[in-house]
């Protein structure tokens, strides 16, 4: 099952926590963007890296890698992580981080598809 709506699922919660984390992205304050409203927020609005300079693609991939490694540390046991999962998530995250109109829900959708699809929630 793919993730089609922002909800209190592991993928949505992880996405929210990683982007909100002061030591990682610090993209918003929890008070300013409550969890319930966060799914529709765009990364262009929150992270502001879109379309600037010449190296947007490389920059977006660095954001994707930062996100993915944070997720790996905080929410995964490495013994359960396969290369296929990692690359699937990285490709998906790179794509959404390149598009300023991607929502937090789209990021959570990538995380869900790579790591939680098939789990009962």
């Amino acid at each position: 099952m793919s993730l089609t709506a922002w909800q209190e699922s592991p993928a949505c919660i992880a996405t929210y926590r990683i982007l909100e984390n002061d030591k990682l992205f610090d993209a918003f304050d929890e008070d300013g963007l409550p969890f319930a409203d966060a799914g529709a927020a765009t990364i262009g609005h929150l992270l502001l890296f879109f379309g600037t300079g010449h190296e947007t693609e490389l920059r977006a991939k660095s954001y994707a890698k930062t996100f993915l490694n944070a997720f790996r540390k905080l929410y995964l046991s490495d013994s359960k992580l396969s290369r296929q999962q990692y690359t699937q998530a990285f490709v998906g995250l790179s794509e959404v981080f390149t598009n300023k109109d991607s929502t937090l829900l789209a990021i959570a959708g990538v995380v869900h598809a790579a790591f939680y699809n098939g789990d009962s929630e």
Partner: protein, 286 residues
């Protein structure tokens, strides 16, 4: 001038459907639209257009200018090169075009290029945030209409990283070394005559940005620095100050896709050494 209007009209018309589509999909309800789950081919994907109101000095020329960037890439599959699942490399090909079209007689940023880059992206265990790139490139560079032009081929390497010097910052560094064929460069031909020959050139690009508080008026500050340096340039080229070009900008990003940019310096084919102030609106068509 007619050609410029045609090009600008074409770009705006191309950008409009994408912009409208984006506006139509923005909703307050966090439900993924069907389109986001499908892979669609769009020839406009990768096109970014900035509409700028520009003033350049010392000539004190003001007017409208369009700055365009078009990027497409073809990627292979990620391959693992170490024990860790995050040690990956990816073969890829990239096509990129950059330039500006000015609605005044003299373009203050009169430098365009089209580049084909074949190489690989590398992820290493050395960093949890950095991405590295190595590749070989072929580039056509010129003025706005490529009337003056040169071709360059060589090698390039780059890295991008986040949270480097400050929290909420990102840094991209690129270094390229290439051989330049200047046979289409009229000014260089006039200076060197029969002695015109290929030369080697180093290009360095640094982009550094810091995101500020989401509630502040200025959302982000970005610094860019470009330097092109010819190796062992002939005396005539050095005397004419054509052996080295530096161009730096500071951009303040404002709400609603607006940016205020201050630029100083010169680029290959844009040899006047302007100081530029511009207020721009960015359209991204995907």
């Amino acid at each position: 001038m007619d050609k410029r209007f045609l090009l600008i009209s074409g770009l705006l018309l191309s950008a409009l459907p994408g912009a409208l589509a984006v506006a139509q999909t923005e909703t307050d309800t966090a439900v993924l639209p069907e389109a986001e789950t499908e892979t669609r081919f769009s020839p406009l994907k990768g096109l970014t257009v900035d509409l700028n109101v520009t003033n350049s000095s010392p000539e004190n020329i003001s007017g409208l200018a369009l700055e365009y960037t078009y990027k497409r890439s073809i990627n292979g599959d990620y391959r693992q090169w170490g024990d860790d699942v995050a040690q990956l490399w990816l073969p890829r090909a990239k096509l990129e075009a950059n330039g500006s079209v000015a609605l005044v007689d003299e373009n203050p940023q009169d430098f365009s290029n089209v580049t084909l880059d074949l190489g690989a992206e590398v992820q290493s265990f050395l960093s949890e945030t950095a991405i590295y790139e190595v590749g070989a490139f072929y580039s056509e560079e010129g003025d706005e209409g490529f009337d003056n032009n040169q071709s360059v081929y060589g090698a390039t390497m780059a890295f991008a990283d986040t949270n480097t010097l400050l929290a909420k910052d990102d840094l991209v560094f690129r270094l390229s070394y290439g051989s330049v064929d200047p046979s289409g460069d009229e000014q260089r031909k006039q200076l060197l005559g029969d002695a015109l020959e290929d030369f080697d050139r180093v290009h360095m690009r640094i982009e550094y940005s810091v995101r500020l508080a989401p509630t502040s008026t200025v959302k982000k500050v970005e610094l860019t620095y470009n330097e092109y340096r010819e190796m062992d340039a002939p005396m005539q080229i050095r005397d004419a100050d054509l052996d080295q070009y530096t161009y730096s900008t500071i951009a303040l990003y404002l709400p609603n896709n607006l940016a205020l940019t201050f630029g100083k310096g010169s680029l290959p084919f844009d040899r006047e050494g302007d100081r530029i102030v511009q207020l721009g609106y960015q359209m991204q068509t995907w």
